[in-house]
């Protein structure tokens, strides 16, 4: 067989075209501000976007089942605020225990989503919209207008300190676990199956309801952990933590090639998508664009990336058709 052309390589693998987008982005930013490519800076991209990276994995699972979860940052705030308050009022200070508690809260929130979506046949966007209001509201209610501040979370914040290994370790473990789970375990493939064709999955004996419920529970778990991490990294807990950032997570997945209609998407793509989002937010203040232009440019880049991808896919398909003999 003759070797694949670059065009075929690109159309064959969504990740490949993302890598190119990424490289172009890095080159442009790197030329404008060479210090962008420094080790510290790249390390900080991961640290500052740990939450996006982490939650994008859960969103990948949810979106693979053709669902969506817009309650994640509310869950994050509720879990984060809870463990912040536990420290503020000197109930718990053990880092590990705090993670366990945060994760448990997240699992609870996620499970509620899952059970209502799976058993109640409620559209995911609606159910999670309800919980978006509920958990955010609850974060405010329990905080009673207080924050947990740097002083309250003193020892705990060392875990997520700039330069501490904690967040990176969590990220690496999460990505490795999910990479293996999604590709090499039955559970992972079930998620794909449910999203690809729910009816078929049901008929071939996959417990669709259970799969759906677990997917949202996983999402909740990651959101809970992200809440704990957020408190650690920013050394504070506020009820409006990460407000509106669920859209960043969704955008990361979509840029990374996860189809909102379900059944298509990969851990590698998700990683690249989150990385692109991280680079955009890290680079904008560094390339001397006036502050007021930053949002506009961020929006244009996101839209441009997704549209560009559609255009390349279309061109590649056309190329393939031309090659067909008649």
């Amino acid at each position: 067989m003759k070797k694949k052309s670059i065009g075929q390589f690109l159309s064959g693998s969504r990740e490949a075209s993302l890598v190119i987008v990424l490289i172009v982005l890095l080159i442009v930013v790197g030329v404008i501000n060479p210090s962008f490519l420094s080790f510290t800076n790249i390390r900080q991209i991961f640290l500052n976007n740990t939450l996006t990276f982490l939650m994008a994995l859960g969103m990948l699972c949810v979106m693979l089942t053709a669902g969506i979860d817009i309650s994640i940052t509310s869950t994050l705030a509720f879990a984060g605020m809870s463990i912040g308050l536990l420290q503020k009022y000197n109930v718990v200070h053990n880092t590990f225990l705090l993670f366990v508690i945060g994760a448990a809260i997240g699992i609870f929130c996620g499970f509620l989503n899952g059970i209502i979506i799976a058993k109640g046949h409620v559209a995911p966007i609606i159910c999670t919209m309800g919980f978006m209001y509920i958990w955010r509201g609850m974060a405010y209610v329990i905080s009673n207008n207080n924050w947990a501040s740097g002083m309250d979370v003193a020892g705990f914040s060392d875990f997520g300190k700039d330069g501490a290994p904690g967040p990176y370790i969590i990220l690496v473990i999460a990505y490795v676990v999910f990479f293996v789970m999604m590709k090499w375990t039955r559970f992972g493939r079930k998620i794909y199956a449910v999203g690809s064709n729910t009816e078929a999955a049901r008929v071939s004996g996959i417990n669709v309801d259970r799969t759906l419920a677990s997917v949202y529970t996983i999402m909740g778990f990651l959101a809970g952990v992200a809440g704990v991490l957020s408190v650690s990294i920013y050394a504070s807990a506020q009820p409006n933590m990460q407000y509106g950032k669920e859209m960043d997570v969704i955008a990361a997945c979509v840029i990374g090639g996860v189809a909102m209609s379900g059944g298509r998407g990969s851990v590698a793509g998700t990683f690249l998508g989150a990385l692109i989002i991280g680079i955009i937010s890290k680079a904008l203040p560094m390339v001397n664009i006036p502050n007021f232009w930053q949002n506009l440019i961020k929006g244009v880049i996101i839209l441009a990336v997704v549209i560009l991808n559609v255009v390349t896919q279309r061109t590649m398909e056309k190329q393939n058709l031309l090659r067909r003999e008649m």
């Binding site: 309800g130 978006m132 509920i134 509201g137 405010y140 209610v141 955008a251 007021f292 232009w293 929006g299």
Partner: protein
């Protein structure tokens, strides 16, 4: 003419008054009544005058509810409208401050809304592979981004701009009896939008697209043209929303319209319009909008923590969408018990 086998197919609809009352819209009317009774019971200040006085700010959102209903029936979603309200309002304020007469500012406000909607529609129909959620997420950031740039360049310093000549706005904010003008505008727009969706071929096509886009296309429905129109209409209504919001704020800033998209979607969903498309009607959305508004007003007058109000609305949303599932589960259980 019966078929070859003599089989007759009934064409008589069985709907009765009873089933109408038992429908979701019927339930919504009851809930609306209940909410108002609750309001009167918990707050001594809950009366027609006060409710109508507090309403205009919410009325502005209801305009968009109608447009969003169309988009949801299509099976699409538009989360950029909150930002579009901000952009339209901002441009209107700045152009008025630049010396244009109020009438022109009004047209500009609606025009910017329309253009924004058309941009959404253009991208959504040109790149049909993209989920509309991501398209409108992009334009959401862009619309607000443009507004920020405008504030910086022509605003009152920082991210805010206020209208210097407020005569026109005052006029729009006047009341006819206890009713604000916005109330009548909502009614008129609402009736038009409801009738178009329920009674016309255009409305039927929306349901067709929302239920099965491919089949609709094969049946000669101009799918992309209709989607484009719906996005444009929603944009125009966002302009209208911006205009009436201006009568309450006399200006705009970077947070204007924040979260409106979700509130509007919540109204639609609570009114029985499914986000999966092809289901629900605007009468439900219309009643649901007033339920939410009245509830907010009533609880607000009792000085209930604003965040608790959000929790209550979230719960209402979830329970309302669970109702069909719960009732069918109960009826199945009943049937089983009988068998």
């Amino acid at each position: 003419m019966a078929g070859r086998s003599g089989r007759e197919i009934s064409a008589v609809q069985k709907g009765s008054i009873r089933s109408k009352i038992l429908s979701w819209e019927g339930a919504l009317v009851l809930i609306l009544v209940a909410v108002n009774i609750l309001g009167v019971a918990i707050s001594p200040n809950y009366n027609v005058e006060n409710v109508l006085r507090e309403m205009p700010r919410y009325l502005a959102e209801i305009f968009m509810m109608f447009g969003m209903g169309y988009i949801l029936v299509l099976g699409d979603i538009d989360i950029s409208v909150g930002a579009l309200v901000c952009l339209a309002g901002t441009v209107a304020v700045l152009s008025s401050n630049a010396g244009l007469p109020f009438g022109v500012a009004v047209i500009i406000c609606l025009g910017v809304g329309l253009l924004g909607g058309m941009l959404n529609g253009f991208i959504a129909t040109r790149f049909t592979e993209l989920p509309t959620m991501i398209v409108t997420l992009g334009t959401q950031i862009i619309f607000r981004g443009i507004a920020e740039v405008l504030f910086e360049t022509w605003g009152n310093g920082g991210g805010t701009a206020s209208m210097t000549d407020t005569k026109g706005l005052m006029l729009l904010a006047t009341k006819i009896g206890p009713f604000p003008i916005a109330f009548f505008c909502v009614l008129i727009v609402g009736i038009i939008m409801i009738v178009v969706l329920a009674k016309t071929t255009f409305g039927r096509k929306l349901y067709a697209i929302g239920s099965n886009k491919t089949a609709a296309y094969y049946a000669g429905v101009k799918v992309e043209k209709i989607r484009f129109i719906c996005y444009s209409v929603l944009g125009l209504l966002a302009g209208l929303c911006a205009l009436f919001l201006l009568t309450a704020t006399f200006g705009s800033n970077t947070t204007t319209g924040q979260g409106f998209e979700m509130e509007v979607i919540a109204m639609c969903v609570f009114g029985g319009i499914a986000t999966t498309g092809g289901k629900g009607n605007l009468i439900g959305g219309f009643i649901a909008a007033f339920i939410i508004v009245c509830l907010r007003i009533a609880l607000g007058q009792r000085n209930i923590n604003t965040q608790v109000i959000l929790v209550i609305i979230g719960l209402m949303l979830i329970i309302s969408v669970l109702v069909p599932a719960i009732s069918s589960a109960i009826s199945i259980r009943k049937k089983r018990a009988k068998a």
